[in-house]
C-alpha cells in the first residue's frame, strides 16, 4: 500500500459535488503535482488531506493509519499556503520555531532545529527579521521552513509560487524540489501552471472538474495525453479532427488525405470522427524537413517567443500551431502564405474525449 492513499474521495458543498471518486496512491518520498484549471477541486483535495475539510465519502490513509478521525492539529502534515501565512507578530526564528514550541520541544532542541531549517532555505542571516521585512520569495521560504521544522509526514503546498514574479517562481520551484529530494519528504504540490508541474514532479495528476483525467509522469502526461482535456491543458497540443478509415490498420483521413497511424484504433469503427493530437514541436513547414506526411495549410499568424517562433496555420477546419527554432538565416512565414505542414504520422496521438 502506498504511503498516502486516497480512496474514493468525494466532496460536496451543499448540492454541488466538487470532487468525484478520487483515487490515488502516493509513495513515500514522491513529489506529486495536482494540475488543473481554477475551480477543479485541487485545493479541496489538499484540504481534505490536511483535515481542514471532511470528505463526504472515501478515506485518507497515511502510513497505514486512517486519518478520518484526526483533527488537522493531530495529523502532522506540513502546509504551505499561497498567501505565505507567516505569523506577523513573530520574527523568522519564532515562526519556524512555532510548531516545535507547540510540540513542547526544549529550547536547545528548538534552536538547533531552527538553525538547521534556516540553513536549508539559506536565510540564517534573517532570523531576526519580521515577515513584513522580507520579500515574497523569502517569506515563502520561511513558510516552507516552518512547515518542515516539525518533520511532517506529508508536505502540502497550495500554489505556493503564484504570488511571486516569474524569475523567483522558477528559482524557488527548483529550490523546493531540491529540498524535497534532500529530505525525501512525501509532497503534494498544487498548481495551475503546467510548466511548473512538468518541471519538478515525479508524477502529475491532471484534474478536470473534480476528477483525475490522467495520472502519470511528466513524460507520459506530455507525450501521451489520455484525454482531449489533458492534451489541451498540458502543453499546447494541436487537435486535428479526422475520420476513421480503417480501424484495423489504424488508417484515418484528414482533409481528404489518407494517413496511417502507428497502431490500430480500438473502440471506433470506419467513418467515426476522431481527434488526433500533434505537439507543436513535431511539425514543421521548412522545405526538406523530416516527416512522411504533409498537409496543405494557410498561415494565420506568427509570434516570436524568443528561442522559438510559433506559427498558427489553418488546415482544413482546424487551426494548428507549431514551433520552429529561431534562426536568423530563415525568414518567418507571413500571414496568408500557403505552405505545407510536414510531420511524421507516428507523432499523431489518438485522443479520447
Amino acid at each position: 500500500m502506498a504511503f498516502l492513499t486516497l480512496t474514493n474521495i468525494q466532496k460536496s458543498f451543499g448540492l454541488v459535488q466538487v470532487v468525484h471518486n478520487f483515487n490515488m496512491g502516493i509513495e513515500k518520498g514522491e513529489f506529486v503535482s495536482f494540475l488543473g484549471p481554477s475551480g477543479c477541486g485541487k485545493t479541496t483535495i489538499l484540504r481534505m488531506i490536511a483535515g481542514f475539510e471532511t470528505p463526504s465519502g472515501g478515506s485518507v490513509v497515511i502510513n497505514g493509519k486512517d486519518q478520518g478521525a484526526l483533527k488537522p492539529n493531530q495529523r502532522n502534515i506540513g502546509m504551505v499556503f499561497q498567501a505565505y501565512a507567516l505569523f506577523p507578530n513573530m520574527n523568522v526564528h519564532d515562526n519556524v520555531a512555532f510548531g516545535l514550541k507547540v510540540a513542547g520541544a526544549s529550547k536547545t532542541d528548538i534552536d538547533i532545529r531552527v538553525k538547521q531549517m534556516l540553513g536549508l532555505i539559506k536565510l540564517e542571516h534573517l532570523a531576526d527579521r519580521f515577515p513584513y521585512q522580507l520579500s515574497g520569495g523569502q517569506q515563502q521560504r520561511v513558510a516552507l521552513a516552518r512547515a518542515l521544522a516539525v518533520k511532517p509526514q506529508v508536505l502540502l503546498l497550495d500554489e505556493p509560487l503564484s504570488a511571486l514574479d516569474a524569475k523567483i517562481r522558477i528559482s524557488l520551484r527548483e529550490e523546493i524540489r531540491q529540498i524535497q529530494q534532500q529530505l525525501g519528504i512525501t509532497t503534494v504540490f498544487v498548481t495551475h501552471d503546467q510548466e511548473e508541474a512538468l518541471s519538478i514532479s515525479d508524477r502529475i495528476v491532471v484534474m478536470n472538474a473534480g476528477r483525475a483525467d490522467q495520472i502519470g509522469t511528466p513524460f507520459e502526461i506530455y507525450n501521451t495525453p489520455a484525454t482531449r482535456f489533458v492534451a489541451s491543458f498540458v502543453g499546447t497540443l494541436n487537435i486535428i479532427e479526422g475520420k476513421v478509415a480503417d480501424p484495423a490498420t489504424g488508417a484515418v483521413t484528414i482533409g481528404g488525405q489518407r494517413i496511417a497511424l502507428k497502431e490500430p484504433i480500438a473502440g471506433l469503427k470506419g467513418g467515426d470522427s476522431i481527434s488526433l493530437a500533434l505537439r507543436p514541436e513535431a511539425a514543421s513547414i521548412a522545405e526538406g524537413s523530416k516527416g512522411d506526411t504533409s498537409l496543405p495549410g494557410e498561415v494565420v499568424s506568427t509570434s516570436f517567443l524568443g528561442s522559438v517562433i510559433r506559427t498558427k496555420l489553418r488546415v482544413g477546419d482546424d487551426v494548428i500551431s507549431f514551433d520552429m527554432f529561431n534562426d536568423p538565416g530563415i525568414t518567418p512565414p507571413v500571414a496568408g502564405e500557403n505552405v505545407s505542414l510536414r510531420f511524421a504520422a507516428k507523432d499523431l496521438l489518438v485522443i479520447r474525449e
Binding site: 492539529n73 502534515i77 506577523p88 513558510a143
Partner: protein, 262 residues
C-alpha cells in the same frame, strides 16, 4: 490654489476656536479660585476630596474590569464569526450597534426590572451583584466600539489562513487565539480599550441609577454644588480623555512599526 488653502486654514481656525476658546475659558476659570491671583487651589481642593479619590478609583477599577471582560467576550466572538460563521456577521454587527440606538436609561430600567431583588437572578440585591451588573452594562455600552476596533484589526490579517497554518503545526485553539491572533489584533484591542476607558470614566446614567459611587455621578454632584471645582474636574477629565487618545495613536503607530498590516 492659494485662496483655497487660505479658506481651509480659516475653516480650521474657526473650528479650533469653537473648541479651544471654551476650553481655555474653563481652564482660566478653574485657576481663579483664589481672589485676585491665579492658583491651583481648585485642583488642590478636588484632589483633597476623599470622594474624588474614591469615585475616581472605583471608576478606574470598573474600567479595567470592563476592558478585560469585554475583550474576553469580543475577541473570541469576532474571531469565531470571521472564521466559522461569516454568514451571521451582519447580524452580529447589528447587535453590537444596538447600544448606540437604545438610550442608556432604557437599558438600565430593563436591567432593574430583570435583575431586581425579587427576580430569579437578583443581582441588585447585593453590592457585588450590582457592581457586576454595572460592569456588564459598561460592556454593553462599549460593545459597538470594541467590536468594531477588534473586527477591523482582524480584517487586516488573514485570520482563517493564520488559524489553519497554526493548526497544521499542531496548535490547539487557546494557543492559536492567544499566540497567533490576539497579538496581531492588539492595536484594535488597545484602541477599543482606551475608548472603553473614556466611556466608563464619564458614564453617568447607569452608575447613578444603579446607585454606585462612580466618577460620573460625582462630577454631576460637584457641578451642582460648587463653583470652581467643576471646572477643574472638567479639565482633569479632558486631560484623561486626551491621554487616552494619545495612547491610541502611540500604540497604533507602535503596532505599525512592528507589523505593517495591523
Amino acid at each position: 490654489m492659494k485662496a483655497q488653502r487660505l479658506g481651509a486654514w480659516i475653516a480650521i481656525a474657526i473650528g479650533a476656536s469653537y473648541f479651544i476658546i471654551p476650553l481655555l475659558g474653563t481652564l482660566e476659570f478653574s485657576l481663579r479660585m483664589r481672589r485676585g491671583a491665579y492658583s491651583f487651589d481648585a485642583y488642590e481642593s478636588v484632589f483633597a476630596d476623599l470622594q474624588f479619590r474614591e469615585t475616581f478609583g472605583y471608576s478606574m477599577l470598573m474600567a479595567v474590569l470592563t476592558i478585560a471582560f469585554g475583550m474576553l467576550l469580543v475577541v473570541p466572538t469576532a474571531y469565531w464569526v470571521r472564521l466559522r460563521l461569516p454568514q451571521v456577521r451582519p447580524i452580529v454587527e447589528f447587535v453590537t450597534l444596538l447600544p448606540l440606538v437604545i438610550p442608556a436609561i432604557v437599558i438600565v430600567f430593563g436591567y432593574l426590572r430583570l435583575y431586581n431583588s425579587s427576580s430569579i437572578l437578583p443581582l441588585t440585591g447585593s453590592t457585588s451583584g450590582t457592581n457586576a451588573l454595572l460592569m456588564f452594562s459598561y460592556m454593553t455600552l462599549s460593545l459597538p466600539y470594541m467590536y468594531r476596533a477588534v473586527d477591523t484589526a482582524m480584517r487586516a490579517i488573514d485570520v482563517r489562513t493564520l488559524t489553519e497554518a497554526a493548526e497544521s503545526l499542531g496548535a490547539k485553539w487557546p494557543t492559536i487565539l492567544f499566540r497567533c491572533i490576539f497579538p496581531n489584533v492588539m492595536s484594535g484591542v488597545l484602541s477599543g480599550a482606551f475608548i472603553t476607558f473614556a466611556i466608563v470614566m464619564g458614564e453617568f446614567t447607569m452608575a447613578a441609577l444603579l446607585n454606585r459611587p462612580a466618577f460620573g455621578p460625582y462630577l454631576q454632584l460637584v457641578g451642582a454644588n460648587k463653583a470652581y471645582e467643576p471646572s477643574a474636574l472638567a479639565v482633569i477629565a479632558f486631560a484623561i480623555t486626551w491621554l487616552s487618545m494619545g495612547l491610541i495613536q502611540l500604540v497604533s503607530r507602535f503596532q505599525k512599526s512592528a507589523s505593517p498590516k495591523a
